[in-house]
Symmetry: C2
Subunit: 429 residues, 2 copies
């Protein structure tokens, strides 16, 4: 064992759709982050279908190797929701209808002007002796119990129900339970994250060569996705356990080495960073999208408060829409094609002029699979920005590999990053 | 055991970034689909970090409960790549540098004009007696072996390397191995899927009560997400193994019971169904979004060929944009508020008129967390549709629970579903 003083955890995601249905368990990542903050390290993730004996088998394996087990899913009202039964069977407890669980469910339904159906009553059947974990969003309560020296919590699989329940119900109970365990000291784990954009993983890797000194318990992670390369530093929270260099010092050095390609830290997203810059500089934005089809607008409006700076978005998918909504000259489209730097510039200009906003941003490109020509391949994308007279930009991108969705994602990221860099320069000037 | 004649499988995804790094194992879904076609059912998915003893423990659990085990990841050249060592240790085999593995790697690098580095030689260390699986894309070969009556394959974690290796190397070897096992007949598994919208999970469950007859090996799955309730039927492909009622007959009955709430089958999405109906009827569409912020446009343009019917989308986030881009009377907004049936109707009307398309679709609502008033709570959404004079619709929705993102998703689904129902009626008229 190379991690003797850290508590180990395991997540079990329950649902046949997670095995075969084209759907992934995303809950375990959220749980891993929150357990780490309590000094509990996620070591295993298991996914199992809606089959009582399979779930029981997985539970028995989990308690043999992990001190904390968090189950998600299988708490709904249907006959394939089997988590309650499996936990009862594995732990040798009876299932009993619990008044607190029932009352919470009825109260929640009443808020929505509904009454409980017979099948929903199943949701109030909880293993005997378990703590009920109220669900602040939906109708299915969770529960927690200890079994063979393991802390076990069962939560709904719906992320917007599971997430507040982890924060409000599971973590306080877990912390209390950990404090009561005298045998092993708990060392919280911290994880610090930086976000880069516009460069390949190999370049980030190269810039960070030799960052972590020998003998350091701090782990460096470099993770690629279509949108970005993310960098993380993970290690014990206590400074004296961090070895030759502290995690904060390494974080500063990482930031320094990646300076030109960083766009954010920790929970930042490109759209939240752009939104913050627009808000700080009291600027307003209008966007003209073509190949991204609305994705830039969707991303910008994921940020609460975006109505403060985002005035409008036009998805001008047809050439006629580019002419009518943005005033792009039809002759310009004829001459250069809709996917060209000239049309990107005209789209950004028209958008800014017609909306009266501080800045216009545009994207036009070929997301595929159709639409390519001899000279214009799938993945060719132009971004335009108009910040007023003598303050315009266009940039060409060629995205290789990846389907329609990946090209839309990378195009939206490239456009927002161009805007971010322009905003930073403007803020400094 | 309630599935005695089906072979069971398990995937093991190896890599610490899959536990903690914000990245998900997507390979297991691909593997599950391809194993099912061979009659092998995925029962468990496990994810484990880059720790030899943890990987060994997971391997030992896997061979106890599954006859087929597929590992992904941990075959690269770095010291974090520990799959080879873990398999050797678990199975009691030596690691030996194998000529075939080395030659394949050197040939691949030569194609790229490169030579092997010292660390890459590690990739040719394969457990003794294992079959080498050539990598047609990258440098790391995989391998396959049998151990304690279990077929075990180890593959790279990069999807574009893993996927051809499953098809070209693993499945033929697996099929041969299955044929040689005389004890259990192999039955391919089929899965059929239906999609519903606009109703809660409990209603779908109620409509399907008693669907599956006693003694049937066919499994019913009901899966909820913010967008829809999905229903699946899974069972053996051979008709005589399907028990009292065939899967096709059950599929037809399911379709019949859910008729009014179904929107699609198998790989359909709401946006692909709407796109198909628009294409069939040669109609064009323009969309005016407010609270959904571009999500409807993004979804519609995920469908290849959507430029054939989608003319434009306007995200009129500000009231001024609603007036300027859509011609919504400012007085109407003053009187009823931007979130009202009246403004939804005016948005759809203005969009259709100004774009000259067959139909205008609009959404206005409060996605939260801000923006609510005494009479207009977060989750209040209006959808409008304008198909020409005397052919208009508006509909009010009240979405309870869920954050900004969920309300955007549910609003986009409700709007597209309203359009779908209108298109079906129009097609029949």
């Amino acid at each position: 064992m190379n991690k003797p003083r850290i508590w180990t955890a395991e997540t079990i995601a329950i649902g046949s759709e997670l095995l075969l249905g084209g759907r992934l368990d995303t809950n375990s990542l959220f749980i891993a982050d929150h357990l780490a903050a309590c000094g509990v390290e996620l070591r295993y993730k298991t996914t199992v279908g809606d089959d009582v004996s399979d779930i029981v088998a997985v539970l028995k394996t989990a308690v043999r190797r992990s001190r904390v087990v968090v189950l998600t899913g299988g708490l709904g009202p249907t006959i394939d929701d089997l988590t309650r039964e499996a936990v009862a069977r594995a732990t040798g407890r009876r299932l009993a209808r619990r008044k607190a669980a029932l009352d919470g469910m009825i109260a929640r339904l009443a808020e929505w002007g509904r009454t409980a159906t017979t099948s929903q009553f199943r949701q109030a059947m909880i293993p005997a002796g378990a703590d009920i974990l109220p669900n602040p969003v939906g109708t299915a309560p969770g529960f927690a119990l200890t079994w063979k020296g393991t802390f076990l919590a069962a939560l709904p699989g719906v992320p917007r129900e599971m997430e507040p329940m982890v924060k409000e119900c599971v973590l306080p109970r877990l912390q209390e339970w950990l404090n009561a365990q005298k045998t092993v000291a708990v060392t919280p784990i911290v994880r610090r994250v930086l976000h880069t954009s516009g460069v390949p993983e190999s370049l980030v890797d190269q810039k960070l060569t030799g960052l972590i000194p020998a003998g350091s318990p701090i782990q460096l992670g470099i993770y690629a996705s279509p949108m970005e390369i993310m960098v993380s530093l993970t290690g014990p929270a206590a400074v004296k356990a961090q070895g030759p260099v502290t995690i904060d010092a390494l974080f500063d050095e990482t930031r320094d080495r990646l300076r030109d390609i960083l766009y954010g830290e920790e929970g930042d997203t490109m759209e939240s960073v752009v939104g913050r810059l627009l808000g700080e500089q009291k600027l307003t934005l209008a966007v003209a999208e073509s190949c991204t089809g609305g994705l830039i607008g969707h991303r910008l409006t994921q940020v609460p408060g975006s109505s403060g700076y985002l005035d409008r978005v036009a998805v001008t998918y047809s050439n006629r829409a580019k002419v009518e909504l943005l005033g792009v000259p039809a002759a310009l489209i004829d001459r250069h094609g809709a996917v060209s730097a000239e049309v990107a510039a005209a789209m950004a200009h028209g958008m800014r002029e017609r909306s009266g906003t501080s800045v216009g941003l545009s994207v036009t490109g070929i997301a595929g699979p159709g639409g390519a020509t001899e000279t214009k391949p799938v993945g060719l994308v132009y971004v335009g920005l108009d910040g007023g007279p003598n303050d315009t930009l266009t940039k060409e991108f060629r995205f290789h590999g990846g389907d329609r969705n990946v090209i839309k994602q990378r195009s939206s990221q490239a456009a927002l990053d161009l805007l971010r860099r322009w905003l930073i320069k403007k803020g400094q000037g």
